[in-house]
Amino acid sequence: MPRRVAMIGAGMTKFMRRANDTPKEMAFEASKMALDAAGLELKDIESVALGTAPDAFDGVHMKGEYLSDGAGSFLKPYTRSFVGGGTGVFTGAHGWWHIASGMFDTCLVVGEEKMSSAHPHPQGAFLTIFDNLIERNLGPNLVWIFALEMNRYMTKHNIKKEDIARVSVKNKGNALDHPCAQLGMKITVDDVLNSETLAWPVQRLDISPTSDGAAAFVLASEEVAKRVTDDPIWIEGVGWNVDTTIWTNRDLYYPKYVEYAARMAYKMAGIHNPPKDIDFAEPYDPFDYKELHHMEGLQLCRKGEAPILTREGVTARDGDLPTCPSGGALGVGNPIAATGVMKLCELYWQLRGEAGKRQIPKDLRTGVAQAWGDLMQVGTVVVMRR
């Protein structure tokens, strides 16, 4: 039986363009905040789990090794996990197994990304994620392939663009209350629909920004957690799943891999009826339609139903099932691996009632965070409980 694992402290840097900070410095800043929040020092940390996405962003080969001392792993065991855009939430599982396995009592978990080093734009790094032989010659980029996915999702369920735009309006609005947010703003559905078209149906305000930043948290065994805090938040379920590389062979309207990852995490957490058992969610929202796509994959609603719930206000911060109360990637910013860690931190702060102006106005017991990445291919899910 796995041991229980508690989150006992969290911290994050402001997400923005941070040209003056090295990746190490950002990792250090977030790690220090998480340790301070937990009331621990680095000497109390037995292991380090690091998550950071493509080396091509920073232009550093073996980026994990480079970041390791900034992330506190000097003379300590450290590993780096990497599942593309799913990396951030995956670090929740990565840190979890260090403790659940009985091998360590404490683990510092750090997610870092510095995208601004890539010139002229980090999209350039994404040109190198495609298959060398088959795809790269076609010059595809991320916006292009996600436009295909968004189109398929809209066509399959007959979804109107304005119902998708509402996600962007909601999340950027929520981010106004987040002190670390890069792109909190009050916008309307028309603003989204009138923004520059990049690859139809994707428009500028449908997309999260590129960002630099880091986020971190401290995990502990039950024994340590009960010693240092009266209010630990438990990681009760973790799940992940990767579909085939050949994305052109899949029907993109539904993320089956997210469903499988969610089922793995829900089984572990004893969740049988997700919409009823889960109080709020932080699905990954690098594009507005992805939040909807992921709500369906997470079994929080039926296929095609997420846009309706959003239109009806169910997913607003004061709704029945708030999603991305933090402001999500669309509002807080999207430094890939750090974004997912930010979502786990948000679950922690919400469940402890420490989310300040972002606090969801109801009793919270269970939250779920999820991220997604690779070639529309990986789902990572973490369930946390008070």
């Binding site: 480079y66 065991p77 599942v83 659940a100 990767v242």
Partner: protein, 387 residues
């Protein structure tokens, strides 16, 4: 803690070049061999797939994308660990102990023959502000480190050359290893100087290959043929900062070993371990690592080596496989290849290079310059140690 066993291994063998195969085909071959060896159906029985990889070596960003299909992992829990193969094995051990899965597959590969300029890639591993701007080749760090080690431990270049002679002779007995050769010390000393005091033959050559190891929980392993038990794992880093690290002594190996020994309940490594497969990507590294592993005292490895203690028929055979000097350097696959050798030896299937009465083995890896990242694993024919 729950005991974990290796129930199957698959290795393509190492080759300096493999123009007719893609990395996917190499991975597939290793996976099929490992699944056959363990009698496991990957689509039904394996609960977690872990790959050790680095984007720049693979020439693609987010290598995780290209991991699942050829190892049977599509629509299953799959993840990349950007560390050495032994770190990925340690991750697999944690997955089983945490109850994630009863059977885990761990994969690593090298298709370095596709890399036009490997030293250019290594250059990108240097700190972009402090080191890269000095524009030195990463191998320089091995030269500096060797110098420091020779000085601190009172070891000579001739003694390091003995490591090369031993390992490349061992490789002659290993059908998987391409660099078998009968050399003498002068061959090594007279080879082209590279990064003083290193010569060409002190450095392992980069090669292609893939390796897959299948792990299982005790419950599953008990019903499998010839399980090899992972009795201890440990891993550790020193600092990436070249100004602050210990240049003569690999503290990360020492700390990783202490973790693994505690896990395995080992107090006297030299007596309790029958064979060792340690990192020898440069000749001096074998000696330096044996000392940091506490298999011998600091400064004593060269003496044991010259007395023949580390030969295949010696008291503690080291790198009977031929090591990286004889096998070639498979980047982050080295740890799995060394594990493969240890499993072959413990099962008594190592052919001409078989060590007599090998019951326990130590495997150690290092990620190479410019890192200070090491891992250690203790294997045995019987489960031991720990609670």
């Amino acid at each position: 803690m729950e005991k974990v066993a290796i129930i199957g291994v698959g290795f393509t063998g190492a080759r300096p070049d493999s123009p007719e195969l893609s990395y996917k085909e190499l991975m597939y071959e290793a996976a099929v061999k490992a699944y056959e060896d363990s009698n496991v159906d990957p689509r039904k029985e394996i609960g977690s797939f872990i790959g050790a990889s680095e984007d720049f070596w693979d020439g693609v960003s987010i290598f995780d994308e290209y991991l699942p299909d050829q190892i049977g992992g599509a629509l299953r829990p799959v993840c990349s660990i950007c560390n050495e193969g032994l770190h990925a094995l340690a991750t697999g051990v944690m997955h089983i102990r945490a109850g994630i899965a009863d059977i885990v597959a761990v994969e690593a590969h090298s298709k370095v023959s596709d890399v036009v300029n490997p030293e250019g890639i290594m250059h990108f591993a240097l700190d972009p502000i402090l080191d890269r701007t000095l524009d030195y080749n990463a191998h320089v760090m091995a030269g500096l480190e060797m110098n420091r080690y020779l000085h601190e431990a009172c070891v000579t270049k001739e003694e390091c050359a003995e490591v090369v002679v031993k390992n490349r002779a061992n490789a002659l007995l290993n059908p998987y290893a391409p660099y078998g050769a009968k050399l003498c010390i002068d061959d090594v000393l007279d080879s082209t100087p590279t990064y003083e005091p290193l010569s060409e033959l002190d450095t392992s050559n980069l090669v292609d290959g893939a390796c897959v190891i299948v792990l299982a929980s005790e419950k599953v392993a008990r019903n499998k043929r010839a399980p090899v038990w992972i009795n201890g794992v440990g891993w550790c880093n020193d600092t990436p900062n070249v100004g602050l690290r210990d240049w003569g002594y690999p503290r990360y190996v020492r700390l990783a070993a202490e973790q693994a020994y505690a896990d395995a309940g080992i107090t006297n490594p030299y007596d309790e371990i029958d064979i060792a497969e340690v990192d020898d990507s440069y000749s001096y590294k074998e000696l330096q690592h044996l000392e940091a592993l506490r298999l011998v005292d600091t400064g004593e490895a060269a003496g044991f080596l010259c007395e023949g203690a580390f030969d295949i028929n010696g008291e503690l055979p080291v790198n009977a496989s031929g090591g990286s000097l004889g096998m070639g350097n498979l980047l982050d696959t080295n740890g799995l290849v060394k594990t493969f050798e240890a499993v072959e030896q413990l099962r008594g299937m190592a052919g001409q290079r078989q060590v007599k009465e090998a019951e326990s083995a130590l495997v150690q890896s290092w990620r190479g310059v410019p890192t200070t990242s090491g891992a250690v694993m203790i294997l045995g024919n019987e489960p031991s140690g720990g609670d």
